[in-house]
Amino acid sequence: MSAVLEAENLKKYYTMSQSFFGRLLGSQKKYVKAVDEVDFQIPRKNAMAVVGESGCGKTTLGKVVMRLLDATGGKLIMEGKDVTQLSGSGELKAYRRTTQMIFQDPFSSMDPRFTAFDTLEEPMNIHNIRGSYEEKRKTIMDALEEVQLTPAEEFVDRYPHMLSGGQKQRVAIARALILNPDFIVADEPTSMLDVSVRAELLNLMKDLMSEEDLTYLYITHDISTSRFFSDSISVMYLGKFVEKGEVATVLDNPLHPYSQALLKAVPEPKPEMVEVIKELPIKGEVPDATNVPSGCRFHPRCPYAEDICENEEPELREVEGREVACHFAGEVP
C-alpha cells in the first residue's frame, strides 16, 4: 500500500524567550519540543488517530502537517513530494488546496458575519475557482447536501448563530470538502458536541472517507471514538510517539505503560463499577514540556520505571505486531 502522507523525523521546536541578561551572557537557547522526531505513514483511504493528554503535542503535529506551522526539521512527504520546503503562492497554495482541516470548536472557527454560503465561497475565491454566481451556488449546495444538511436551500443562507453545534460542524466539514481535498486533518472534531450528534458526525466522516477518497489524520483525546473511526492509532506523550499500530491491536492489548494507563482511565459504560474506586497507574498531568525528563520521558510517572529508563531513551521497536518505545515492552504486565 502506498502512503499518501509520510513523516520522517518530523520535528517542531518552539524557542523559549530569553531574558536580556541571558542573551548578553550567551546562555543556551531553550526549546519546547512539541513534536520530536515523529515518524508515520498513512495509507490512502485510511485514518490515523493521534491520542494523548493535553499538551502532548498532538495539535501542533496537525498544524505542522497543514503547514500552518513550519517544521523545525524532518520531512513530510505527501504523494511523493516533500512539503516542508514548499513556499510561496504557487506550490504551497496548491498543497493547501489538497489538504484541509476541521477544527475543534465550530463555535469559534466560523465568522459570525458569514452565512454558510459565504463560509463555503471563501476558499473558492482564495483558490481562484472562477464561475458564475449560479455555478458557485450549485457547488455549495451540493457540498451542503453531501454533509447531510438537507434541504440545502434551508441552510445555505443561515448565519452561524442560526445553526446548532452539530450543524455548524457540518458546515465546517463542507468547507473542508469544497476544494476536493485528498487529505484532512481533523482536530477533535466532535469534542464539543453531544453524544448522539457525535455519532452522526463520525458516521458522516467515515462515509466520506470512501466516497471522496479521503485520508484522515484524526486528532483526539476521546480514545473510544478512535476505535470506531480510525484504522491505526498513535499514542503521543510529550512530543513523541510511544506506541503505534493497528487500532484493535493497540487498544485491546496496550504494551506501553502510558497507553495502558490512559486506556484504564477511559470511562466505559459499566454500571457494576459504581462502588469501585478505579485503580489508576498514573496520576496528575503531563509534566512541563520545557523540561523533558532524561531517558524515557515517561519514567517519572511510570509505575515500572527502573534505572535504565532514567538514563537511556527507548527507541520505537516492533513488539507483538505494533511499535512500542519502552525498554520493557512486552515484559510489564
Binding site: A248, L262, L280
Partner: protein, 322 residues
Amino acid sequence: MANPVLDVRNLTTHYFTRKGEVQALDDANFDLARGESMGVAGESGCGKSTMAFSLINQVQPPGRVVKGEVNIDGINAVQLTETETRKKVRWKRISMVFQGAMDILTPVYTVGHQMKEPLHYHQGITGDEARQKCEEYLGEVGLDKEIFTRYPHELSGGQKQRVIIATSLLLEPTVLIADEPTTSLDVVVEAQIMNLLKRLKKELGISMIFITHDLSILSEVSNKLSIMYAGKFAELGDAEKIYNNPKHPYTEKLLASIPRLHKDVKRLERIPGAPPNLVDPPSGCRFHPRCTYAKEVCQKEDPEPREVEGRKVACHFAGEVT
C-alpha cells in the same frame, strides 16, 4: 427505602420568554437516599441544568419554578425567599459544582480568599480557624495545603476543579450537585476526579446528583439513573438495570450511540432529527417525531411514567418494543 434526604415532587420550571413559555422542566419526581447518587443524562437543552438550578432555587429570570416541591431535611426549598435560601439551603444543604467550574475562580484573589467566603457568611468562621478548615478540605480532595495561598492561574485545570469541589464541601452539604464536573479535563484527570467523588460519597455519606451528556462517565458513579428528554424524565431507575436493558426507545438509542473501546462497530447508532423546541413541544409523547417505534397513540397521548421491570418509563410501549 430508608428516609430520603431529598424528595422532589412535580418540579416544573418554565422560562417566560418573548417567544412564549419554554417548558424546560416538567413534572420531575424523584428522591435520593443518604449516600446515594443519581446520574442525569440527556442531550443539550433537555433541561438537565434547569433542573439543577431549580433544586438550589436559583433559576434566573425569565425562568421561574412554576410548581412542585423540593424537600430537603423537611424544608421546601422552592418556597423560600432568596435570603432564606441563601441561609438555609445553598451551600449548607445542597451545594453545586458548576459546569466549567474552573473558570469560576476569580483571578485576582488567592484560592484561600475565595474558599473562606462561604465559611465567613454561613458560620462566621474567619481567620486562622477558617484557614484550618479550608486546608483540611483541600487535603480531603488530595491537594497540597499550600494551594491555599496560590492564585488560580498557578493551578492546572484538574487542581482548580478540586478546589471547587473542596469549597462546595466546606459546609458539609447533604446533597452535592455536579453539573458536567469533568468536561474539558483530560481522561486521566477525569478518572481521578471521579474516583475522588466516589470516595467522598462513601466516606462522608454525601448524596450526589451528576449531570452530564456522557453516559459512559455516569455509569461509573451513579446508583440511579435518569434519562431526560425535552424537559421530562424518559426513564428513571436503577442504573444497572437501565444500562443492561433499556426500556425507553430514547435510552436505547442513546446507549447505542456511545463508541466502545473494546468492540468493533461498523456504524454508530444515531438519533435522527434534533431535540424539539420547548416553546411548542410536540403533542403527545415528546419523543414521537424521532422515535422509530412511534404509533398513532404516541402523537395524541402523553405517556405517564409507569413501573416497568423495576424502573419508571414514560412510554406507551415500554417493555414491548425494546
